[in-house]
């Protein structure tokens, strides 16, 4: 065995694409958080599956281990290589999105799946990850030129294409999750702050427009959207139900109302494991997917909910610290991007379950049931772990 030092010298001249030794250098704190969150997910999923289908629990464990394989593989691959593949991934993702629009199968009215033999793929899920790589590649290539307005604006065209395709599905949730990704990565990449500020303000100005579009909304008469800026009837319905939960509490307002009841009745220490009445008696549908946090909050109470939020916080801040400490731009951007996506999911999902936001299909990482999303999350964990693993004192000067 040659001494480790030799390895470094070796890397001075070239780069090892696949290096299993990266595994020895994974960050233990982040890994621990992942394990704890996954464990919290299993415990909660077991409770959820008891009142729906026990196979959810088994499959969720399977997804974790499948995801772990993805994580390990990604950790071992040098991220600069993957960043180099960014444009290819981008093209592949766009093609997949086009394919899903053409031949995809619709499920639950909005999400589209691509059926490939025994596999069912949700291209919009992988697009989240692809966008992180593609944008990193783009910003690394640009370097300081991002401070120029035209390059800054080009980012939106570059990132806007997949977003537009996802919106066309229509999958508002995923499209929404990509928006903060662009903003944060632009910010971290070093764009001019006022450029970004103008864009954000312009973006926020859509809210009054949509608000105005809601003014004549009649929940009982479906109407075609007036233009590209207008929401579809079912989307407006969700906003309407969120603002007026008393309208048809058995219909659209049901989720928001019942989720609040579920969380609120949990109290400080919860009703006890497997004793959540709201979820057990099926008052809260989807309590194994998008509303699993409500189940957690009902059975484990405020304490349990805070513990899980705390785990997420440590996980996300640790990920951000990688971005801060990584000596190169690529690693910084990758880490920041992954943290943004996961943070968005954590925040929006919980905000929906506690009635701060209207219902949109945003799952909670590690807890919500779902194969595609679990794999994406674990891949994201791989990307995060990969950043410091490569970075530790081994960087080419």
């Amino acid at each position: 065995m040659p001494p480790r030092r030799l390895d470094v010298q070796y890397q001075d001249v070239s780069l090892r694409v696949f290096n299993w030794r990266n595994l020895l250098r994974v960050d233990w704190l982040l890994s621990l958080m992942v394990l704890l969150l996954a464990a919290a997910g299993w415990v909660t999923m077991y409770s959820a599956s008891r009142s729906s289908d026990i196979s959810y629990f088994n499959r969720q464990i399977m997804y974790f281990f499948l995801g772990l394989v993805v994580t390990v593989v990604i950790v071992c691959i040098d991220y600069r290589f993957l960043v180099g593949l960014g444009p290819l991934m981008y093209i592949a993702a766009v093609l997949m999105l086009l394919a899903v629009l053409a031949v995809g199968t619709v499920a639950k009215g909005s999400e589209r799946w691509l059926v490939l033999g025994p596999f069912r793929l949700q291209p919009s899920e992988t697009t989240k990850l692809v966008m992180v790589y593609a944008l990193t590649w783009y910003f690394v290539k640009l370097g300081p030129r991002i401070r120029k307005l035209h390059w800054f604006l080009l980012t939106f065209i570059f990132a806007g294409l997949p977003i537009a395709l996802i919106l066309k599905q229509p999958n508002l949730g995923t499209a929404m999750s990509l928006t903060p990704l662009i903003i944060v990565m632009l910010f971290v990449a070093g764009c001019r702050v006022w450029h970004l500020a103008v864009v954000v303000l312009l973006g926020l100005s859509i809210v009054p427009v949509m608000w105005w579009e809601m003014h004549d909304f009649d929940p009982d008469t479906p109407r075609e959207p007036r233009g590209f800026y207008d929401l579809k009837h079912y989307q407006k319905m969700r906003v309407y139900a969120f603002l007026n939960p008393e309208y048809d509490p058995r219909g659209s307002g049901w989720h928001t109302l019942q989720s609040k009841i579920t969380v609120g009745s949990g109290g400080l220490t919860g009703k006890g494991y497997l004793k959540g009445t709201q979820t057990r008696l099926n008052y809260l549908p989807e309590h194994h997917t998008d509303f699993i946090f409500s189940l957690l909050a009902e059975e484990q109470g405020f304490v349990g909910a805070i513990v899980v939020i705390g785990l997420f916080l440590v996980f996300l801040l640790r990920g951000l610290s990688f971005a801060r400490d990584c000596p190169d731009m690529a690693g910084t951007l990758l880490a920041a991007g992954i943290v943004t996506i996961l943070a968005f999911h954590v925040f929006v999902n919980i905000a929906i379950t506690i009635g701060l936001m209207p219902v949109t299909g945003i799952p909670l990482p590690f807890l919500s049931f779902g194969g595609s999303f679990y794999l994406t999350t674990m891949a994201g964990v791989g990307v995060l772990l990969n950043v410091p693993a490569r970075g530790k004192g081994l960087l080419i000067g």
Binding site: V13, S14, L15, R16, V17, F18, R80, F81, V140, G143, P144, V184, F187, V188, G190, D248, G251, Q258, K260, I261, T262, V263, G264, S265, G266, G267, L268, T277, Q278, L281, N282, Y283, P285, A297, F302, A305, I306, I309, F312, L313, L317, L320, A323, R324, P327, D328, M329, A330, T332, A336, V339, T340, A343, V346, F347, I350, A351, I354, L356, I396
Partner: protein, 654 residues
């Protein structure tokens, strides 16, 4: 695999700050979530716990029995039977079969298919509602549904107690009827365990004693799943129980021991059902009322009114048009009990009161006489008041005046006594005010006096507001504005029969007798009684009284006829000698009050036949039959006839 690293750009100055800034944003965002969680789970815990509880448990009502109503001698007048409803839960039926099942359901239960489908469509949003497809199934319907159960997923039969009136029309108006509780009642009785859809008493005893008869519903508390409804079933003995599984097959958990329903308290009436039936039979074909009181206590032995109705039509299947007709009124109104809800000029019946009052006040002595030339003129007046006997009665004392109902005698007595004293004595015996009978809607009647007239003509010329002697003359024979119910008249005669006490009529045994201080002395009662006794005596010696048709050999009966004018004297005169051609509405009301003195219990009764022309001919024979029947069947309240009645009543309804 190795690749050559390219020149990577250096990180720019300040990237660390930007990343840290993002970190702070993240921290703030998660802090917002924590604050919100604190607010939901800790600050508003009780509110959400209550909402979750409301979700979780379902309180299923166990309907209680309504209290039974018994007539005298324990004859059941109203009880409860098990009534089965066909209930459909659309959510339990496979979506694709829904229409077919609706059609089949309509066919089997004999309801309109369109109605079923629209009813089901109404609850599309909450498919686990129990929709009542058909209430009160017949035995045949029930068997048919049970036979076709497999074709009808979602249909169940739910049983609950339903009122049953065993006596048909007999005493129907007294019992009253049941109807669905309305919003006002619901608001007023909110803390007495009523809920929407309950049947409550709307009239009669059912109304008066609603709070006695109404039972306390019990309940069972079971878990309720978001989908599925607990089903209430009844076992073979009619006891309700909760099915083990709800409509979706979830196993239900018992949350607490069920609270059993408490039946309403029974009501025991003073009513003699045989007598009641006899009275109603007597009145068959005419519009009128017969009241029979126990003279000493005021207990109502019978209170008949025709036309009558069967309260059963309100609680049995079908009869929709009949119900509507009843509630719409109609002429004659079958819902109006004529014994206490309708007022009539008391006519000559009033003379009983006037005679007793005048004797008591000393205005006349038993020996005082007046001359009756057949008419009467006030001093200085131009208009004569006639005696009914235009040829006149000659010189009459109070006994003869009562016997022959001499009007002129009482014109004189009335004037001598004066309106104020007449009015005082009227109120003393209960004329012009409610008797206090325990039934809703009693009319107070009217005894005019100075105050009343001044009020009536308020704002008019003082000359119109003044009380004239002419008014007193009219009042003296119970005409003018005077009005009384047959019940009041019966109470008046009871006062004479029992020796001078005013009694409060009552139907429910629990009320007990209520007597006033003694109003009339022995002497007064003796004189009045003598006059009234002679009134029902048959000739030739002693002379025949106006009420001779009520005479029964061997029974000491007193009585007084009355014919209350409804049209002016001049109108009446037009038909002199040809009474048959007077239009029905213009004919006089026939009164007869009577009492029995030498039997126990003493009874007092009043017969009124609307537009019966003459009390002597139209009313007095009924009184005779009532008295005859009562003492012949006394103590035999539950005759074979009574026992057979329920079947007859039920058969009639079928």
């Amino acid at each position: 695999m190795l690749i050559q690293p390219k020149n990577e750009p250096e990180r720019y100055e300040g990237v660390e700050t930007r990343v840290q800034f993002f970190g702070v944003l993240l921290l703030a965002a998660l802090a917002v979530l924590c604050v919100r969680l604190w607010s939901l789970q800790v600050l508003n815990l009780s509110e959400f716990t209550a909402l979750a509880e409301h979700n979780r448990v379902s309180q299923t009502r166990l309907a209680s029995d309504r209290g039974l109503i018994f007539a005298r001698g324990g004859v059941v007048m109203a009880d409860n039977r098990a009534s089965a409803d066909a209930v459909f839960v659309p959510g339990e039926c496979p979506e694709d079969r829904l229409n077919a099942v609706c059609a089949r359901l309509a066919e089997i239960t004999g309801t309109a298919e369109k109605w079923v489908t629209t009813e089901v469509a109404k609850f599309r949003r909450s498919p686990f509602t129990q929709i009542i497809i058909k209430r009160d199934l017949t035995k045949a319907d029930r068997i048919r549904i049970e036979e076709h159960q497999h074709e009808l997923p979602g249909i169940t039969i739910i049983v609950h107690p339903q009122r049953r009136y065993l006596q048909g029309e007999t005493a129907g108006q007294l019992l009253g009827y049941l109807g669905e509780i309305n919003q006002n009642e619901l608001d007023a009785w909110s803390d007495e365990g009523y809920s929407l859809g309950d049947l409550v008493g709307k009239d009669g005893l059912e109304r008066q004693y609603e709070h006695v008869l109404h039972g306390q519903d019990g309940y069972m508390v079971v878990t309720k799943y978001a989908s599925g409804q607990p089903q209430l079933l009844t076992d073979k003995s009619g006891q309700p129980y909760i099915a083990k599984r709800d409509t979706r097959g979830h196993l239900l958990e018992k949350e607490a021991d069920p609270v059993p329903p408490r039946s309403g308290k029974p009501l025991h009436l003073t009513l003699d059902l045989g007598l009641q039936r006899k009275c109603e039979e007597l009145l068959h074909g005419v519009v009128g009322a017969i009241v029979t009181l126990d003279a000493d206590t005021g207990a109502v032995l019978a209170m008949a009114s025709t036309p009558n109705y069967d309260p059963g039509v309100f609680v049995t299947r079908g009869h929709d048009t009949e119900r509507t007709d009843l509630l719409m009124g109609g002429n004659p109104n079958r819902m109006t009990h004529r014994a206490f809800r309708e007022i009539y000029p008391p006519g000559s019946v009033f003379k009983v009161l006037l005679a007793a009052a005048a004797l008591e006040e000393g205005a006349i002595k038993p020996g005082s006489t007046f001359f009756c030339p057949g008419h009467y003129e006030l001093p200085g007046g131009s208009r004569p008041w006639h005696c009914w006997k235009h040829s006149g009665h000659g010189t009459v004392g109070v006994v003869e005046a009562l016997t022959f109902s001499c009007d002129v005698f009482f014109y004189n007595v009335g004037l001598k006594l004066g309106v104020d004293k007449i009015s005082k004595w009227c109120h003393a015996v209960g004329l012009g005010e409610k008797t206090g009978l325990d039934l809703p809607g009693e009319m107070p009647g009217l005894i005019p006096d100075r105050e009343w007239k001044a009020k009536l003509y308020a704002g008019k010329d003082p000359s119109e507001r003044r009380w004239y002697d002419g008014d007193t003359v009219n009042l003296s024979i119970g005409q003018g504005s005077a009005a009384a119910t047959p019940l009041q008249s019966a109470a008046l005669i009871a006062c004479i029969v029992n020796g001078g006490y005013r009694v409060r009529p009552y139907l429910c045994e629990e009320q007990g007798p209520k007597k006033s201080e003694r109003l009339f002395s022995d002497a007064t009662i003796k004189t009045v009684t003598e006059g009234l006794r002679k009134c029902v005596q048959q000739g030739p010696t002693p002379p025949t009284g106006t009420g001779y048709l009520a005479h029964i050999d061997g029974i000491d009966i007193i009585g007084k006829t009355g014919s209350a004018q409804v049209a002016s004297q001049s109108f009446q005169d037009k038909y002199k000698g040809d009474e048959e051609s007077i239009p029905y509405e213009m004919r006089e009301h026939a009164w007869f009050v009577a009492g029995v003195l030498d039997r126990s219990p003493k009874i007092a009764l009043c017969v009124l036949v609307e537009h019966g022309l003459h009390g002597a001919r139209a009313a007095a024979p009924y009184a005779k039959e009532v008295i005859d029947y009562f003492y012949a069947n006394q103590g035999a309240a539950s005759t074979p006839e009574t026992a057979a009645a329920p079947d007859a009543a039920a058969a009639k309804r079928e």
